[in-house]
């Protein structure tokens, strides 16, 4: 009765136990599970993915820079996770809806975020950086794992509506320990909900290596709930794209939830407030630099003879443009007036809060009078 389980011996072996289409050297290999999903991906499409990843890395670097310069309170870098985020998010249809955690800069980029959307929340101007309806993405979620249940509920709604949509949720390796993530799998399986779970196993939850959460492949968790899963090389953008298409097709076909564990690596700190030198084993970052997802796709395009200087230049221009606009939007943001703290607590009038708002307005007005007097 007990499913076969493959323990992770070390990160090297860990990395070989994944579905993959591009080797770290950029060579295309066959994979019977994934190949069917990338038949239509030509060189132009690959270049598109490369552009996305490069632009994303630039956005991420700009976020870090803005934080260092005191323009943002915090930033959660996704450097190293570009293939996972771009690969999976580019496989989505516009009508799908995403429930992310806080590190999914690449996902909101792929969903059409405008420059200010990246920074509005981290700067402390708003609770949500973007308009959920505009991007088809729920607000970034900070409570670990909470969003996975939202995705499942949304997917239950899709099913009730008889719609051809999928809900997708992103979360980290650490999140898999939370009750909510496990309950999400229970509900998703029970209701056969069209939801895709994307676990970005970036090997760390702040200072804790993934082994604190699980000494077994996270992808092995889902089948116990009745959810098919796939463990994919998260630094192989093509494999991530294919895996996501597999999962989406499964969900869209009415077969219920699917689970993807993308094995990747956070190359930067947890957030700009973190100091990974306190916990990262020596050499680990260096080893992962060798597996850089952007370099891998570049090598592959080189091998195909499909990487052009022109495309690189265009990409660079685009990256610079986005970064520039992002910075300009950030610096130009105007903080809402004091009484805005009372806005939108409720959708309908609340007498208690109205009284407090009036009292506070009167209090503030007192200062103006003082100044005037």
């Amino acid at each position: 009765m007990s499913p076969q389980i493959t323990p992770i011996a070390d990160t090297e072996q860990d990395l070989s136990l994944v579905e993959r289409l591009l080797t770290p050297e950029g060579r295309r290999i066959a994979n019977p599970r994934l190949d069917p999903f990338v038949q239509d991906i030509d060189a132009a499409a690959l270049r598109g993915l490369l552009r996305d990843m490069v632009v994303l890395r630039r956005i991420d670097a700009e976020g870090v820079a803005l934080q260092r310069q005191g323009q943002l309170g915090l930033w959660a870098p996704c450097q190293g996770q570009e293939a996972t985020q771009i690969g999976t998010a580019r496989a989505l249809e516009q009508r799908d809806f995403v429930f992310p955690s806080y590190r999914e800069t690449g996902v909101i980029y792929a969903r059409g975020a405008r420059p200010g959307d990246y920074v509005r929340m981290w700067r402390g101007e708003e609770g949500a950086g973007h308009d959920p309806a505009a991007l088809g993405v729920a607000p970034l979620q900070i409570i670990i794992g909470a969003q996975t249940l939202h995705a499942v509920g949304y997917a239950m709604g899709i099913r009730h509506d008889g719609a051809d949509e999928v809900a997708v949720t992103y979360f980290g390796d650490g999140a898999t320990s939370q009750g909510d993530v496990n309950e999400a799998m229970v509900f998703a399986a029970s209701y056969n909900a069209p939801v895709v779970f994307v676990c970005q196993n970036n090997h760390w939850a702040i200072s804790e290596p993934v082994a604190v959460q699980s000494q077994f492949p996270i992808a092995g968790r889902a089948p116990g709930f009745g959810i098919p899963s796939m463990r994919v090389d998260g630094n192989d953008v093509l494999a991530c794209f294919a895996a996501m298409r597999w999962a989406l097709a499964h969900a869209r076909a009415g077969k219920g939830p699917a689970f993807i564990e993308a094995v990747t690596y956070r190359m930067g700190p947890h957030t700009t407030a973190d100091d990974p030198t306190r916990y990262r084993p020596e050499g680990e970052l260096e080893a992962w630099r060798q597996r850089d997802p952007i370099a891998r796709l570049e090598k592959h395009l080189d091998e195909l003879g499909e990487r052009s200087a022109e495309h690189a230049a265009e990409t660079q221009t685009e990256a610079d443009r986005v970064a520039r606009e992002m910075r300009a939007e950030c610096l130009g943001m105007v903080t809402r007036p004091p009484l805005a703290v009372f806005d939108a607590v409720y959708a309908e009038p609340h007498t208690g809060l109205e009284r407090q708002r009036a009292d506070y307005a009167a209090y503030l007005a007192g200062f103006d009078e003082e100044v005037v007097a």
């Binding site: 499942v152 909510d180 229970v186 609340h350 208690g352």
Partner: protein, 335 residues
């Protein structure tokens, strides 16, 4: 007018809300085939089917969390928590998500979720089946909190809660599920008193007794008993605990100058503390005596055989009334 128990009135309210709006869906443990352990949802599965009356896995965080997702999708979920003491596993989803998503998104995402909680004690139940957790939710900005005390109110307020674009934690006094009252099933919601209003359920002149939920019956009995001794008590049913209708409350207090606030929940930082602090702020110079609290003790809910020594009853309310009417004993507690 139809005579219904409070439980049946709630069921009728749910049925009506579901007929009126097909985005209303129910989620909870055992609410389908069984009709809920209190039979509040009895018959709804048959009428609306399993996609609108959803028996959920046994996980309260999952129930509320998926309700959030349904709300994102435009549904109006009504969640049943099986008993008051089982709401805590959902606390994070309620406090950090349900209560905050509207604010987080500045109104772009609405959370018209109703969380129904069979509530409070006095029914001889096992541990965790008699809790009064309302203060936790009153203290949580972004939620509305309602507590009903009779069938007519139950029918009206439940429909209002479901129709509200804000999340509502809706407390149903288990002890009164079988109490009967007249309900006008056809009264248009538009004509009803707003959900946030308190009600003077018995006018009086000597002192104001403020309460809610099942304790309203006790307060009314106390008022009867006091009347026999020539004391006229005004009884106010708060009905809405967030917001509290301080206009109604303060108007009464300014007339009587004497206040007792009663509830089953424990005392420290409870709803009575809130009401008294606000009354004192708003009506200080009208107060003839210190407002007093009659509450459960600051103890975990005791075993059933001892619950009568925890729950405020007629005598404890009357004792407090005596004290607010007699300045001599006011600060006896300070000794």
């Amino acid at each position: 007018m139809t005579e219904l128990t409070l439980g049946k009135a709630l069921g009728a309210g749910l049925r009506r809300a579901m007929r009126d709006d097909d985005r209303v869906v129910l989620l909870g443990e055992d609410i389908g085939r069984l009709g809920g352990v209190f039979r509040i949802t009895d018959g709804l599965l048959d009428e609306f089917g399993p996609t609108r009356v959803i028996d959920t896995p046994l996980a309260e965080s999952g129930i509320v969390g998926t309700a959030v997702g349904l709300a994102f999708r435009g549904y109006r979920p009504v969640v049943e928590i099986q008993f008051d003491g089982f709401v805590y596993p959902a606390f994070d989803q309620i406090v950090a998500q349900v209560a905050k998503l509207h604010y987080r998104t500045q109104g772009r995402v609405r959370m018209p979720i109703t969380i129904r909680i069979p509530w409070a004690g006095g029914i001889g139940a096992a541990e965790h089946h008699s809790e009064s957790p309302e203060a936790y939710f009153v203290h949580t900005a972004g939620l509305r909190v309602v507590a009903v005390s009779n069938p007519a109110d139950a029918y009206r307020a439940l429909r209002q809660a479901i129709a509200s674009d804000d999340p509502v934690v809706f407390f149903e006094p288990k002890r009164l599920y079988h109490h009967k009252g007249e309900v006008d099933l056809d009264a248009p919601l538009a004509d009803a008193l707003p959900m946030g209003l308190a009600q003077v359920v018995r006018p009086g002149t000597d002192a104001t007794v403020i309460s809610y939920g099942a304790m309203i019956s006790t307060a009314l009995q106390a008022a009867d008993a006091a009347a026999d001794e020539g004391v006229s008590l005004e009884v106010i049913d708060l009905r809405s605990l967030s917001p509290v209708d301080y206009d109604t409350v303060a108007a009464s207090v300014r007339r009587t100058g004497r206040v007792v606030v009663a509830h089953e929940a424990s005392r420290e930082a409870g709803v009575a503390a809130e009401v008294i602090a606000s009354i004192t702020e708003q009506c200080f110079e009208y107060l003839e005596a210190a407002p007093l609290r009659v509450t459960g003790h600051d103890i975990p809910y005791p075993p059933a055989k001892l619950e009568k020594h925890h729950l405020p009853d007629l005598d404890r309310i009357l004792d407090a009334v005596d004290r607010v009417l007699d300045r001599r004993n006011l600060t006896g507690a300070e000794a």
